[in-house]
């Protein structure tokens, strides 16, 4: 008699967790060992229960789902993570972060159960129809990293970025770097465009994310 697959459900919606728990528990080879409504709780549960598979929603109330993947994998590297979301959001990012499968919540019972088994066996199940999106997302990610080989930001843009992160105003930056206000503004626009940011705080967080500063 083989061991049951131990499952942890991580979703902030109780109604979803309940439905899933019943569904999975009905299968003889599956066992929901715990539930978590947020990432902090999930981390504790993983520590305590060491499940085989985690079903994880991308949207979590406390920590961003993508980050949660990395945190969970750090705690328990052999943990298999199956993303379960309403929308096909952050698909490529999730897979890059270490998710093993990606399923939409409106999948049918057989798909869900099959995906849990598959992911436990080391496969990477995915909802049908997500393929094209995955390819385009990866293509743009690849392009970004190819661009990353050339200096991502010019030296001057880097100094401006660092100053922004330090909370300097346009005028202060201009004074510090001996540039005119207008050229500082130009550089800032260029940085925003490069980072895909819309404002200073987005630019800073994006810069941190990319390990630029």
């Amino acid at each position: 008699m083989s061991q049951r697959i131990r499952i942890l459900l991580v979703d902030d919606h109780e109604v979803v967790r309940q439905g899933l728990r019943r569904m999975l528990d009905m299968e003889e080879d599956l066992e929901v060992v715990g539930e978590a409504a947020d990432v902090v709780e999930a981390l504790a549960q993983v520590q305590a229960l060491s499940p085989d598979v985690v079903l994880l929603d991308v949207k979590m109330p406390d920590v961003d789902g993508i980050e949660a993947i990395q945190m969970l994998k750090e705690r328990q590297p052999e943990l298999r993570i199956l993303m379960l979301t309403l929308y096909e959001e952050h698909l490529a990012q999730a897979i890059e972060a270490g998710a093993d499968g990606y399923l939409l919540k409106d999948s049918k019972r057989e798909e869900l159960v099959g995906a849990v088994r598959a992911v436990n066996q080391g496969q990477s199940p995915m909802s049908p129809g997500l393929g094209p999106k995955l390819f385009t997302e990866f293509a743009s990610l690849a392009k970004e990293s190819a661009e990353g080989r050339a200096p991502f930001l010019t030296e001057r843009q880097m100094s401006v970025l660092v100053s922004i992160a330090a909370g300097a105003t346009t005028k202060e930056i201009a004074g510090k770097l001996f540039l005119s206000d207008a050229s500082v503004k130009r550089e800032i626009s260029a940085i925003f465009a490069r980072l895909g940011a819309r404002n200073r705080s987005e630019a800073i967080s994006e810069a941190y994310k990319r390990n630029l500063i």
Binding site: H13, Q18, E89, T170
Partner: protein
Amino acid sequence: MLFYKFLPLFAFFFQSFLFYTVFGVRRKRAVHYALAVFVGSMALWGLLIFWMRGSPTLGDALSWERLVLPLFAVISYSFFFFTVLFTSRSLSRRVWAGAMAVGLFFMVLAPTPWVLQGMQLRPYGYAPTIGPLWFFWIAGVYAPALVSFFYLFRFSRSTASADMRNRALYILVGVGFSFLGATSDYLAALGLLPHPGGIYGNLLFAALVTVAVVRHHLVDARIYVRRGVAYTLLSLTVILPYVALTLILNRQFQIRLPLAVNIIFVLGLAASFRLLGGYFQAVADRWFYRSRYDALQALHRFSQTASHTLELEELSESLIAAVKHAMAIDTVHLLLYSPERETLSLRRSSVLDAASFPPFPAGDLLAKRLKEWDGIFYQEDMEVDPVLRGLSAASWEAIKKLEGQLFVPLKSGGKLVGVLVLGPRSSGAPYTQEEVGILATVTNQAAVAFENAKALDSLEKEQRRVLLLLSRTVLAQEDERKRISMELHDSVAQWLVGASYRIQNVQKLLGEYADSETVRELSDIESTVDQSLKELRRVMAGLHPPALDELGLPHAVRQAAERLQSDGISCRVETKGEPVRLPMGIEIAAYRLVQEALINVQKHAEATRVVLRLSFRADDVSVEIRDNGKGFDYSAIVSSPVSDGHLGLFGMRERAGMLGGILKIESKPGAGTLVKLSFPIPRTSLTEVSEDLEAEKHEPAHSYTPGR
């Protein structure tokens, strides 16, 4: 003796200078050509007399004299033609041709023995011996000159223009001297005068005409004087060595250059004008205008910048650099005047940091004084100016900090645009009247350019403000939609998911025990829930496309297209160029427009195929939505009273306008529809605009501090 011999050469150079000056006039009219021929002949006369006087034998002298006498005819008749043209007399063609023929006749007659019998040696040098027709010839040559004198005299009496009168009188006196001189030449030859005076007359004429050109703008040749100088320099450098060589060969070795060599020399001279002209022009300009040359060059560069740019930044930089260079000073400041705040603030400076220099207080007396002041303010004058006595201490402090010597107001149409402040000369020398004049010219031009640039600047700001306000409205709307979408996502959608799972669990539990009716009912419920979920997802995506936030316009458009696909319309998306992220308001507006177009396709077009084309170019983005549906009569729809179905089109137009873009809709019944939107990529991001607006809000706060 030497003086007697070389004076004609000097006359030649002097007259050549005049010739070049007149000939240098760009748009020459007949009067210029006549004057050029006249002056050129005078020059040639000088040169020929020089050669004649330097001849070793009487025979040589005779051959030169044979060339000199026909020149008199040319001089006299060309002067007649010049006078006629100059005094704007009308002569019939026949008279013109007659005068020409008579002139030609006397020219040809001159070297014949009837007029010029030979040469004789007089105490002063060679002189002609006269032939039997001499006095007839003299009468023929003098007649047109006398008629010209009469014309000029009449003209000088009748003309209303003082300038014209002066010019006429100068010419009259000058030519009078030349003819007196020429008369003295042959009186001397007849032994009636001890010395010929022709060359003196020639020189006097040249001097008087030069004055007329320079002081009284004769033939508008003033600016071509520099050209005259250049070519005179060129002639000097080319001819003097030649003359020296001829003299040395002649005197020391008794060698006379054959005619062929002389001709080759003249050809070489002509060629050298082309080759060396530009170089000598630059030399002459530098010499003629001295320091002004560099100044003019620098200011010329500014004029060029001013004519092609409306960027305040670039203009300021260029003006400061030009003035710095032209006046050879270190300190130049540019202050611009803001009529709204009634204050001057430092825009750019060669030494100070413009950002940290506080603006003058609003309604400051300095600006008021400069507004009503015509011309340039000297620092010394400012200190004793009665109006400026009331200036606040803070303003005096600021003026001191500028270390200005000259305050040059920039005025456009009488309105104060700004002030150019010039510091002291490093040499300590005062500004010359000429420099101040140049400054006035440049500042006039600068004022107009700055006025335009400022207008454009404020227009751009206004446009950006409108864009910002619109975007804010749209963003607020979008925020609300996003909030509703999230709420649906977090509540109803999840509940539906849970319900779907539960139903499937029940189905599993019942398994084969259930009767077929229960199973059917359950699967009906299941599909209803599924359908609800699907519909909800669609609504949510419509409310706020998650892909737009995450991946930008192309992805969001692709997703919208995919949704169309599920309705059985095949949809292809093509992206051209490098997609860039645009400000949020813009992406949303563009996306909404595409969405609207797709809804129209879905609702009205009965299409089976849609092609969506997104093109990103350097400055703009275009979106094309083409379907193969039934099309419609666009003009009929636009002119018909507004009905619900057409509001979509108006909404699309509005959004396109908000993007500052163009919306083109092409459709014909039965021929499908093409919707094409193109809009510019904004040069500044909206964040920046809001920063600008924020900054403006704060600015007055510290501009009021001094003086209040």
